[in-house]
Symmetry: C2
Subunit: 381 residues, 2 copies
């Protein structure tokens, strides 16, 4: 190769997109502590603490609760390949990219997939699922709690009765909700859930917390076919995280230090306080954006606190706006995905990024970016 590149010197960005979110310096510091062996007794103790803290933020007593060694999409695949066997019927509520991804992952696991399609930006409801189910039985009902591609919140607790009618396990994507919105797996009757670390936990990406109910775990033990993924096989991974400590793969030690610290920060603040902070800051952001004459994609009652989707006004070059924010203000926000590409911006106020000051900074910067394109907008203040 040519000359060796210089050591990485990442510019400081204010991460206000759909994730990763701003990482607390305490978490960055934890990442750089001395690496331990994955079977060192000192590390096994850290693993147990991570599991306890994860149970607290997930609202569960589930024994099988730990972070998978991959990002949120690995957690999605984990939940699906472990609960489904070839030929199983699955019903997926699709109201954005991540619902569609669940359907695709389930198909690749050999399941027969039905989808309940919902307009993007709207929540998945019991009615639409019942209609799509046509009175038939399913092995699993899959929904996204907080759809990161649109900013819409689905009421998961309201879907447990539907899952019961279908005879289905309830599988839930909590990637963008965990740590920023109440997640109550046990109270809601969720059977399998996964999340990511780089949203409202404000930890760098790289791990995916998963949790399985006792019922889902029993199903795992009674499988007829091996889980198609060896890397994501929860029976094997669970033997490492659980009592036996059997070697499966080498855990990402330093990333786990980071998650440990991120969970400590969330629990120190207190979950109720943390959720209230996300909600309050999101209301402030919405008010500022609407005062500028901008329109939000999601109706107020279904908006995600951690992520706000804003419609791009007609005639505005949306990519140029994002470039302006990044280059002039060092602020990252997200664009739309799939059918919403070019149509929305996604602004995340997540984890340590969910502050009133950031709501103000991003709306002021957005106002300037629009003015730079000759769009006169109302004041965000």
């Amino acid at each position: 190769m040519n000359a060796l590149p210089k050591s990485v010197a990442p510019p400081l960005r204010l991460l206000l997109g759909p994730g990763p979110s701003p990482v607390d310096p305490r978490v960055l510091d934890a990442l750089s502590r001395p690496t331990l062996g994955h079977l060192d007794p000192a590390f096994l103790a850290i693993m147990d603490e991570i599991r306890d803290m994860l149970r607290a933020v997930l609202g569960t007593e589930n024994e099988l609760t730990f972070p998978m060694s991959g990002t949120g999409s690995a957690g999605m695949e984990t939940c699906l390949v472990n609960t489904l066997e070839p030929g199983d019927r699955v019903l997926v509520g699709v109201n954005g990219v991540f619902g569609a991804r669940m359907a695709e992952v389930a198909r690749r696991a050999g399941a027969r997939v039905s989808t309940a399609e919902v307009e993007w930006g709207r929540p998945v409801t019991a009615d639409v699922l019942r209609e799509a189910a046509r009175g038939e039985s399913f092995k699993a009902l899959c929904v996204v709690h907080a759809e990161t591609s649109t900013g819409a919140l689905t009421d998961v607790a309201a879907l447990r009765p539907v899952a019961d009618e279908l005879g289905a396990l309830l599988v839930v994507d909590c990637v963008t909700s965990l740590g920023g919105l109440p997640v109550e797996l046990d109270a809601w009757g969720v059977d399998a859930a996964y999340s990511g670390t780089q949203k409202c936990l404000s930890c760098p990406p790289g791990l995916s917390p998963v949790s399985l109910s006792a019922r889902a775990q029993a199903g795992l033990a009674a499988r007829k076919h091996p889980v198609q993924s060896w890397y994501l096989d929860l029976s094997l991974v669970g033997s490492y995280w659980g009592g036996e400590r059997a070697y499966h793969h080498t855990a990402p030690i330093n990333m786990l230090y980071g998650l440990h610290e991120a969970l400590r920060i969330a629990l120190e603040e207190g979950l109720a306080t943390r959720y209230a902070r996300h909600a309050s800051v999101a209301r402030s952001l919405a008010a500022r954006l609407e005062a500028m004459g901008l329109e939000l994609l999601v109706a107020p009652e279904h908006r995600l606190a951690p992520l706000t989707s804003v419609r791009v006004p007609a005639g505005v070059d949306e990519a140029r706006v994002r470039r302006f924010l990044l280059e002039r203000h060092a602020i990252e926000i997200g664009g739309g995905l799939g059918p919403l590409k070019g149509a929305i911006w996604r602004i995340g106020l997540m984890g340590s990024g969910a502050t009133e000051a950031n709501a103000e900074r991003v709306s002021t910067a957005l106002s300037e970016a629009l003015a730079e394109q000759g769009r006169s907008v109302g004041s965000p203040d």
Copy 2:
């Protein structure tokens, strides 16, 4: 939950087991730099640098060369699920845990697997593969370059003619060799290879470099069935690492900073110098251990420089020896796996851990540990 745990305070260990290896402070420091978004232009530039440096250590010009967002076992699964389709025939050389794991992962991918079984501690040879193949055709021939469970080195270049006879892609595990032993994918004619970061690259675990030849990449484009794993689908992951930069999953940003720095360190030293250092230190360790009257598992001509396997003398409590090293000397070494459990110790002098001082420290400590069990041994000096 009960009281919040304290922030992690990992004890300092000298990691001389089968991995993770000692991490250079420069790598730990890189981990804690500010997190960027996974589509930030500044991050995309870092990704390109990582790819270039990976190609250099892998000895390849392969376009499809990048780290997967999981540990080495995820890389193994990546190479197998992307090259194999259901019903494909695979021949796996099995001379340890990781060959056996390749066979299991290939089975779970729906392949029809034949194995060429070799005594653990011995290399996989062209002869044993030819015998197991019985003149039939195979889609892939899989071997482990450096078998971490035994410390045996297989001559990969010598197996390309066999792969040609079988009409097979050559798939190679380079987990414990990369950065510590010459790896020359192009010169050897390897079609798919994977590695880990926590061995001779001295980076924490969490990423798995993979590389596919043009031929394997063409096979990927011509598949009849989708890759069973969405997370590990190289067509999709390649669109993110390649020209299109299409969002697939959120890359583990900070871990990638660490890998970037680890690769810089390896290339700064120079690969030839680095391999010579590993070889020289391994010879010194072997001489010390044999001077103590200990017997090594692998014959001298097949020994891995990065990892030395030592037979546990009859009557010695091997777990107590490892505990003694950890508690009295803060040195981690590994035990045996599978049929070698209880029968060997595995001592890794990998990456920044491959020093003459460490060879001396671990052999002296081992000598003390044996004396503590009343075993008089020769002096390691």
